[in-house]
C-alpha cells in the first residue's frame, strides 16, 4: 500500500514537473517567437542624419511676395525680376502681367507665343493660388526649363524658372514656399 502511495506520489510529482517543464518550454518558445517577430517587424534601423541646409526668407515690397530659399544663393532684385544666383546656375522669379484672368487662359497665350514642347504640365495650388509646374523644351538653343507659374488674380502671374536640372529641387522648394504679400 505504501508503495502505491509512493508511486502515486511520484507520479504526481512527475506530472507536476512535466507541467512545469512544459510551461517553461512554452514560455521560452513564446519569447523566442516574439523575438523573431520583433526581428521581422522591427528590423534594425540605421539612422543617418542629413543636415538640412539653412533656408533664408526673402521678401519684396515691390514685387509683393515672400519666399524661402537656400542660403547659398545670392539674391538680386532687378525691376520685375528676382535672380537667385548660385555657383551652378540661376533661378529666376519674374513678376508677369497679363490680360488674362485665369491660369489656363494665360498659359494658352503664353504657349501660342513660343515654339516649344511642354513636356510636363501639372496643376497645383501654391499659397492657395492656382499654379502649374511645367517643363518647356525649345526647338532652338534655349535650354529646357522647369517653370512654376503661380496665378494670383486678374492680370498677375509669378514665374519661377530654372534652366539647369541641378537646380530643379531648389526651384521646387523655392516656388512652393511662395507667399503673396499684397
Amino acid at each position: 500500500m505504501a508503495k502505491k502511495k509512493s508511486i502515486k506520489k511520484n507520479f504526481q510529482i512527475h506530472i507536476l514537473i512535466g507541467i512545469l517543464a512544459l510551461s517553461v518550454l512554452w514560455l521560452v518558445s513564446l519569447m523566442s517567437s516574439s523575438q523573431s517577430i520583433d526581428n521581422i517587424s522591427k528590423p534594425e534601423i540605421q539612422k543617418t542624419i542629413t543636415p538640412t541646409p539653412a533656408l533664408k526668407t526673402y521678401h519684396s515690397d515691390f514685387l509683393k511676395l515672400t519666399f524661402k530659399y537656400p542660403a547659398e544663393y545670392e539674391v538680386e532684385e532687378r525691376f520685375n525680376t528676382i535672380i537667385l544666383d548660385a555657383e551652378f546656375g540661376q533661378i529666376k522669379i519674374d513678376k508677369l502681367t497679363t490680360n488674362q484672368n485665369n491660369l489656363n487662359e494665360f498659359l494658352k497665350v503664353f504657349d501660342s507665343r513660343r515654339t516649344m514642347e511642354v513636356q510636363i504640365d501639372q496643376r497645383l495650388l501654391i499659397d492657395g493660388h492656382d499654379a502649374a509646374f511645367r517643363t518647356h523644351v525649345f526647338s532652338n538653343t534655349i535650354p529646357s526649363r522647369k517653370v512654376y507659374f503661380i496665378f494670383i488674380s486678374e492680370g498677375r502671374v509669378y514665374a519661377f524658372s530654372a534652366d539647369d536640372k541641378i537646380l530643379y529641387n531648389d526651384l521646387d522648394q523655392i516656388a512652393r514656399s511662395f507667399q503673396y504679400d499684397p
Binding site: F62, R78, F79, N80, T81, D94, L96, T98, I142
Partner: protein, 974 residues
Amino acid sequence: MKQKLTTLFLLPLFVLLFLFVSVPNIHAQNLGSWENVDDMRASRFLPQATLLQNGKVLIVGNSSSQGESVAELFNSKTEKWEQTSPVSMAIQGSTVTDLKNGKLLIAGFGYGKNNSELISSEIYDFENNSWVKGGDMIDPRFFHRATLLDNGNVLVTGGLTTSFSILWRAEIYKLTSNSWSEAAQMNSPRFFHTATRLNNGKVLVTGGQINSSTFLKSAEIYDPLTNTWQPTGSMNESRFGHTATLLTDGRVLVTGGTDINITSKGAEIYNPSTGAWSKADDMDTKRAFHQAVLMPSGEVMVLGGSSMNNIDETIATNLVELYSPSSNEWKLMPAMNNVRTFHMAVLLKNGDILVVGGLDSDSEWLKSAEILREKSAPAPFLDLPWNYEGQGKKFEDVGLEINAYFDHSYPLLGGGMIEPANFSNQITAFDGLSDAERDYSRHDGYDWGAYKAGVKNGDPVYPAAPGIAQYVYDRAGGHGIFIDHGNGYQTRYYHLQSTGLIAKTPGVNIPVDRETVIGRVGSTGEHTTGPHIHFGVFQDKNNDGSFNDNIPDGATDPFGWQSADPDPWENYSFFQHGVQKTGNRSYYLWKKKIPKLDKKLTANGGIFEIGRYELFLPEEETLEGLEFSANLFPSEKISEIVVPIGQIINIFLRNPFGELITTLVKPIKITIDFSQADISRFKPGTVSIYSSTDRKTWKKENTLIDFFNKNATTEVDHLTYFALMGERIDTSPPTTSVNLKGVEGKDNWFRFDVEFSLDSIDNQGGLGVEIVLYKIEGEEWQEYTDPIKFSEENSYKIDYYSQDKDGNLEEPKSVEFHIDKTTPEVKVQFNRDKQEIEFIGIDDSGKVDIEEKDFGKKREQIIISDIAGNELVVEDREREKGKRSKLNIYSLSYNDQSFELDKNKFVVAYKEDENGEIKQFDQKLQLNNQDKIVLKYDPKENITKVVEDKKKQEYEGIKILQIITEKGQINYLF
C-alpha cells in the same frame, strides 16, 4: 545632352560675336558736334597720333617750325594733355606703328638731343612711358609708310631720303632683333603714297609721287612670304596725299588726293580678290592730305584736307563726310571747328574722334585739337499714354506693369523680320536679363493692359508727348496713331478702337498735346489677346525726316538699357532690303522715374532717387560699372544767414576696385524737390544748391530753380555733399515782454492773485512769431497760449522766450514775483535803549515798514506794512511814553479786516540810575483789567520775578515781556 553640346559649341562664337560687335558700340549717325579741347603743347604739321591700349593717344612729331620734337599724350578721360618722356629724336615725317606688344615703333629720321646723332627709329613703351633707341634704318626717310605685318615685323616703303630722293626701297623692321633689313624694292619710287595691309596678309601700296611732276595711279602688292612686289590694277586717278582704308569686307576704299594741279573728290574701291578698282560715289568736297577713319559701323569718315584748284591756290577745309560702303553714299557730317590739312584724326575708345594739329589755309601750323562727340542723350520727354494719374496712380505704380516688353534681342517685329533662331522664344528686356518667360520675342514696343496697368477697353489714349499725329492702319496693329515729336523720335500707338480716333485719314497731320485724346484702347489688329495699348518709340536715325525707313533699326526702348552688359540691340548688325543696318541705342526717355534703378551705373546712366533728391547720371559716365550710394544727413546750420532747406545728401561713387571717385567724366544732374519746404523764408534769388567736400566749407553751384514744379537743379562734375540752401530773410529773434497784473506792493510783491501774461513781437520784416514758451521753476517748458493766474502765496520764477517762424530763438528771460497775502503781525516790547515801548513788525517777507500815527489824546495808530502792501494797523488808545509807558491795543486791522480786542493794557515802569543801572523794570500785561502776567526785575539779585496767572516764578537775568499779535489775538512771551 545634345542641346548642351550645341550650346557649348556655339557659345564661344556668340561671345566672339558680341565682342566683335559690341566694343566700341559707336555709330556715326550718333556723332553730334565738335568741341575744342586744350591746345597741344606744340604746333604740329602732319603729326602721328596713335591710340594706345590704355585709351590715351600718343602724339609724336613735327612740332612747330623750330623742329624741336616733343611727344605728348592726350588723356581721353580727362581730356588733358600729358607730358611723356621726351623723344630723343626730332622726328619729321615719321611713322608710328603699334607693335601690339605694348610698344610702338617710331620710324623716320631725326637727331638726338643737341643734334648729336642721326636716329632713324625709336621704341616707345607706353606702359612704362619710356623711350629707347631702335635699330638704325638702312635708309632713314620721311613721308614714307609703315605697315605691321602678320609676323609682327614692320614693312616700311618709299618716302624721301635726307637728301630728298624719292625711294624705291623698302625695308623691314624685325621685332625680335630690333634691327632693320632690306626688303624687295617696289616697282616704283613713291612718297605720300598709301600702304594697306590686306586681310590676306599682303600689303597694297597705291599712288604717291614719283617726281616733282609725276603722280601715280599705279598700285602694287607686297607679299611678305616671298618678299616680292607684284603690280596690281591701277587706280582710275593719279593720287598723292590720298587715303586708303581697309573696309570690313576686305576691300580698300581710296579717297581724294591730288594730281599736279587738281585735287580729287573722287573715291574708288579696290577688290583684292580681283585686283580691280571700281569707282565709288564722289565725295562732296575735293580733298587731299585729309584723314580717313574707319568707324565701327563699317562706314568711313573723311575729315578736313585741302583742295587745290591750281598750284597757287590751296584751301584747307573743315568739312567732314561719311561714306557708307553698303549704300555707296556720302553724307555730310558736322564740320570741324577749324579748317585743317596735314592733320591727324584718331578714333577714341569712347567713340569720339580726336583731331589734332595740321595747317590752316595760311599754312600756319596748328596746335589746336578738337573732338567730335556723340550726340548727347535726348532729354526725357515721354509719359505713359493713358491717364493713370486720374486713376490715382503714380508712374512707378503702373509703368512696370508690362504685359509685353521691348525685346533687345531683337525688336524686329515691325520690320517683319525674323531674328536668329537662338533668340526666338526669349526676350532680353531693358534690365539686361534674357528671359524665356516674359513676352514676347521680337516685340518692338511695350504692351500695357487692363488689370494691373489700368488700361481698360475704351479708355482714352493720350500722346506720350506733344507732336504731330497721323493715322495708320495695318493688319497686325489695327488702327494706329503715329506721333512725330519733332526731336527725331516718333511714338506709335496700336490696337486702337475704330471709333474715337483723332483722325482716320492717313497722311493728315494733326497737332496734339498731352491732353488730346488720340484714340481709345481696343484690340484691333490680328493676334491681339485682349484690349491693351501697344506703345512703340522709333528714332529717325538717318535724319531724313522719315521714320518708316528706320523700321526696325530705329526701334528704341524708352526704358533705356539698364545693364552693365552691352545692349544686344544697339550692336546688332543686319541686312534689310540689301542694305546693312544696325540696331539702335536706347535712352531712358520717361520724364518720371521707375523705382529701384540698379545701383550699378550702366553705360546708359540712370536716374536715382533718395528722399527729395533725384540724381541723373548720364550715360557713359563710365565705361565700367560704378557703385553708387548716397546718404542723407540732417540739415545743419552753415551760418546764421545761409541755412540748408532740408537734408544734406552725400553721394558716393566707387569704381570696381572700391576706390572713391570724386571727379566725374561727365556732369551729373542733381534735382532737389522742395515742394514740401517753405522757401518763402529765404531771400528771393538766394536759394541755390551748394556743394562741399567736408560739410564745413560750402560752395554755391549754378542752380536752376523751377518754381512751378518746385525743384532746383544743378549739374556738377564733382562730389560729395550737396544741399539746397538759401539766405534767410529773418535772422533776428522776436522779443517777448511779460505783464504781471495784480495788486502790487513793491518789487513784484503782490498781496492778491497775479495774472501772468506774455506778449511776443517779431522784428520788423520778420516772418512772425512761431511759438512762445515758458517754464515755471521746477517744471517743464510749455507753450504759452493764454494768461496764467497765480493764486498761491509763493515766490515764482518764470523763464520765457519765443521762436519765430524762421527758427530764430530769443535769448530766454525770466521774471520773479511773489505773492504774499498774509498781513504782518507785530511784536510789542519795551526797548531799554529807547526807554519806550516799541513795535516790531513780523512778516514772512522779512521786509516790513512801520509807521506810527499819533492822533493825540493818547491815541495812535501803528501801521505795519509788508512789501506786498499788506497792512496791520494797531490802534492804540492809551499810549503813554516815558518811564511809565503804557499801551492799550484796542484793535488790530489786517488789511481791511478788523478785530477789536478785549480790554488790555501793557504797562512798563522803567528807571535807571545815573550810571545806567536798572533801578526798576516792571512789565505787566493786563487783560480785562486783570493782571495776566507781571514781570518784576530785581536788580540786586538780578532776577526777574514773574507772576503769571497768580503763579510765581523767578528767572535769572532780565526778561523782556513781548506782546505778539496773531490773527487778531494777542499773545505774549518773555
